[in-house]
């Protein structure tokens, strides 16, 4: 056995890979195929479903829930841009100015996310309540009008997503920025580059892998998120995740839920695969390793 493995080093590799990959095959790929099949069912919860290859559900579901799809992409995109604008200065400071407090700062950025996702979001509901911690003083000072509210608006949903996914952006950015040798920035300065030029021409391009990894890690879960919309939003800010969740867990309409879920996955995968083609699969994993 040992001799065999020594003579065939690839055999070791496959032996190491087999259990895990098999697992992913059975519990990631097979369910995906299954979900596709379920989307082609017709019937109802009480009388049962049967597979009828009802492909028309796709155009139907897409047109019926077009608003929620668009909203998800808009909210997800807005949150991604916001996490970048908030996360970049943070990552920049920690990478270049952190000094010996680098690890402490990094820890302070990550630590809040050891709290339950739901509890964090519910805390925001408390903080942002119409007569809560933030708005009550502002209202009594007359800074915002009496009827003003944050909760149950798209702003609250986007803010919630931004908050919850901020580390997914900040950490890859930090990793990328940290790799930039300070000598390069010094060189730029020696060449009389202004701060802006230095940032634009040196820092940003070198941080690009982090930007891309961070954007993916934020955008993908953000588009599929429904907890923020559910807890902080209104019926007017429901995302596609809310629809899928309601179809599956409240109505028991598995075909429509599956079709919507499949469309969401396909849309995202197409994007990712195009990206994988451009940067290569190793890079994809490397970038995500933050």
């Amino acid at each position: 056995m040992s001799g065999l493995l020594r003579r065939h080093p690839t055999a070791i590799a496959y032996a190491l890979l087999a259990p895990g990959l098999l697992y992913l095959l059975v519990f990631y790929l097979v369910p995906t195929v299954q979900m596709f099949l379920v989307s082609l069912w017709t019937g109802n919860l009480q009388d049962g479903y049967s597979l009828t290859f009802n492909f028309s559900i796709y155009p139907q579901a897409l047109s019926h829930y077009w608003d929620q799809f668009v909203r998800s992409i808009v909210y997800g995109g807005a949150a991604t841009i916001l996490t970048f604008m908030l996360g970049f200065p943070l990552a920049y400071f920690i990478a270049f100015r952190g000094g010996r407090y680098k690890n402490v700062l990094l820890f302070l950025v990550i630590a809040p996310f050891f709290t339950s996702f739901l509890l964090r979001t519910l805390s925001w509901k408390l903080i942002l309540a119409d007569d809560g911690l933030v708005l009550a003083p502002l209202k009594s000072l007359g800074i915002v009008p009496d009827g003003f509210r944050v909760l149950a608006t798209p702003v609250a949903v986007i803010a919630g997503i931004t908050y919850n996914f901020l580390p997914f952006m900040t950490l890859p950015l930090y990793v990328a920025l940290e790799k930039i040798p300070p000598s390069l920035l010094e060189a730029a300065e020696d060449l009389y580059a202004s701060n802006w030029q230095r940032f634009r021409r040196v820092t940003l391009p070198l941080a690009l892998p982090g930007v891309i990894a961070g954007s993916l890690l934020t955008f993908i879960p953000a588009v599929g998120d429904y907890v923020n919309a559910e807890l902080l939003g209104s019926p007017q800010s429901q995302m596609i995740g809310n629809v899928i969740q309601a179809r599956f867990l409240q109505v028991g309409d598995y075909p429509t839920g599956s079709a919507l879920s499949f469309i969401l996955m396909a849309a995202i995968l197409v994007g990712v695969l195009i990206y994988a083609r451009i940067v290569g699969t190793e890079e994809l994993l490397g970038g995500a390793s933050a």
Binding site: L45, D130, R149, S234, P235, Q238, Q250, G252, D253
Partner: protein, 459 residues
């Protein structure tokens, strides 16, 4: 997925013909309820007599399980007196059915209450009394139940709305013939009808108090003749819950649809409540709601969502939203405001519940035993125990809903005389005239309407 039932289920479902279930239930149920609601309120002398007789019979102490002598409670003597129609029953307009009820009952031997073991019950919040002060997390009536019967109860407030509870807790296991883990579930009439139709409920073996002590009005339900499957827990009304300190007194449903409180009000995720109230506002009768009237109601809801009048659609969580001050007005269930919101309101809040001028919805939440429940005997023991007037009254004095147990009105006076005139527990004739049950729906229509409703609320 196959819908094959086992032979027993088929036998039971055949006993109740499908047509009966679908067509007659709502109309019959409503008229019967409204007619016989009087039993609780206006005819208290006669019902109290029957209550006294009924509670006295099964066991002298009024605590069937506690005697520990199963023989005593199961004696033929108690059977015959248990089956005696309550004194008030013959006087009610809808009295044709007691005969059927008795036949059904007579065909079943009385069960024996359990004296040990435990069972698990899924219900809604605000449906049980709570202790005071240090014991504010206890439920005194449940503690007494365990003391008297020896049966432990795992009481879980696990139901937030009927459809999600059905989809997440019942459908999966029952479809594959497995135990759901729940021994009693408390669900609304229309969901119980669905479960009966699917053959997913156990029959409740009578133990002397149930259905003997069930108010007549509930004995004439077309969808459960003989009260084999559902033991009513509470009936309630859907109306306006509001912070009077912010809104002043409200009496009309139109505030739910105009911009006065835009963004500061919620609807319910229960389609029958929200569509029902909307239909009433539009002048239609939910009891006989037609497709056109339903469509009009959906259009009104869609518009209210679009105009951002509705902040959210909620299950029981409107209670928290009211307390937090995020909303000042909600479609609310009658007992919740008094039982859950008022005790926690701050100094500048003054919560009220009001049945609107246009009317309100009437519904009943029932205890039922899911098919294959492991602790059926213990569950039945609890149902039997609850149907003793004194025990129901203890729960009622706290929850502020309409009680289905004969004689509870007399018992409740012993706790607090003022409660006997509480319109939430004993609706006035004027209120009864304004209450409506939602039309019974065929499976296809029900799912089409649910879909239209979820569409209107953004999902």
């Amino acid at each position: 997925m196959s819908q094959d039932h086992d032979p027993l289920v088929d036998r039971i479902t055949q006993a109740i013909t499908r047509r009966h279930l679908l067509q007659v239930s709502a109309a019959a149920g409503l008229s019967a309820f409204l007619a016989a609601c009087g039993t609780a309120g206006t005819k208290s002398p006669s019902t109290s007599a029957s209550a006294a007789a009924a509670t006295g019979t099964p066991s002298p102490t009024g605590t069937p399980g506690a005697t520990g002598t199963p023989g005593a409670t199961g004696t033929p003597g108690s059977t015959s007196s248990g089956a005696t129609p309550p004194a008030g029953a013959t006087g009610t307009p809808a009295a044709e059915t007691p005969a059927a009820t008795e036949t059904a009952q007579a065909s079943q031997p009385l069960g024996t209450p359990a004296t040990s073991g435990s069972f698990k019950m899924a219900t809604w919040i605000g449906y049980i009394d709570v202790g005071t002060g240090k014991n504010k997390k206890d439920h005194p009536s449940l503690i007494r139940f365990t003391k008297e019967t020896g049966v432990d109860i795992d009481y879980q407030e696990a139901v937030n709305d009927n459809e999600s509870f059905f989809a997440s807790n019942l459908k999966g296991p029952l479809e594959t013939g497995q135990d759901t883990g729940w021994d009693i579930v408390v669900l609304t009439d229309w969901m119980i009808i669905r479960l009966i139709k699917l053959g997913w409920l156990e029959t409740i073996t009578p133990m002397g108090n149930f259905p003997t002590n069930l108010l007549d009005v509930y004995r004439t339900l077309e969808w459960d003749p003989g009260n084999l499957f559902a033991a009513p827990w509470q009936s309630g009304m859907t109306g306006l819950g509001f912070d009077k300190a912010k809104t002043g007194a409200l009496t009309s449903l139109s505030v739910l649809f105009d911009t006065t409180y835009a963004g500061k009000l919620t609807y319910l995720t229960e389609m029958r409540d929200t569509v029902g109230l909307t239909a009433l506002k539009l002048g239609s009768d939910p009891t006989t709601l037609t497709q056109d009237q339903f469509d009009a109601a959906i259009a009104a809801i869609t518009q209210a969502v679009k105009d951002q009048i509705v902040r959210q659609l909620t299950g029981n969580s409107y209670v928290e939203d009211l307390l937090r001050g995020d909303i000042v007005l909600a479609m609310a269930w009658s007992g919740d405001i008094q039982g859950l919101v008022v005790p926690e309101q701050s100094k500048d809040q003054d919560f009220q519940w009001q049945l609107a001028d246009e009317g309100g919805m009437l519904w009943t939440d029932n205890m039922a035993i899911p098919k294959g429940a492991k602790n059926k005997g213990q569950a039945e023991t609890f149902i039997n125990w609850y149907y003793i007037a004194k025990n129901a009254a203890q729960v009622e004095a706290w929850v502020n809903y309409v009680c289905p147990v004969v004689g509870a009105d007399v018992e409740i006076k012993k706790i607090d005389a003022a409660l006997a005139t509480n319109p939430l527990i004993f609706p006035t004739p004027d209120m009864k005239a304004r209450l409506h049950q939602f039309v019974a729906l065929d499976t296809d229509v029900a799912s089409a309407w649910e879909t239209a409703f979820t569409g209107a609320i953004g999902q």
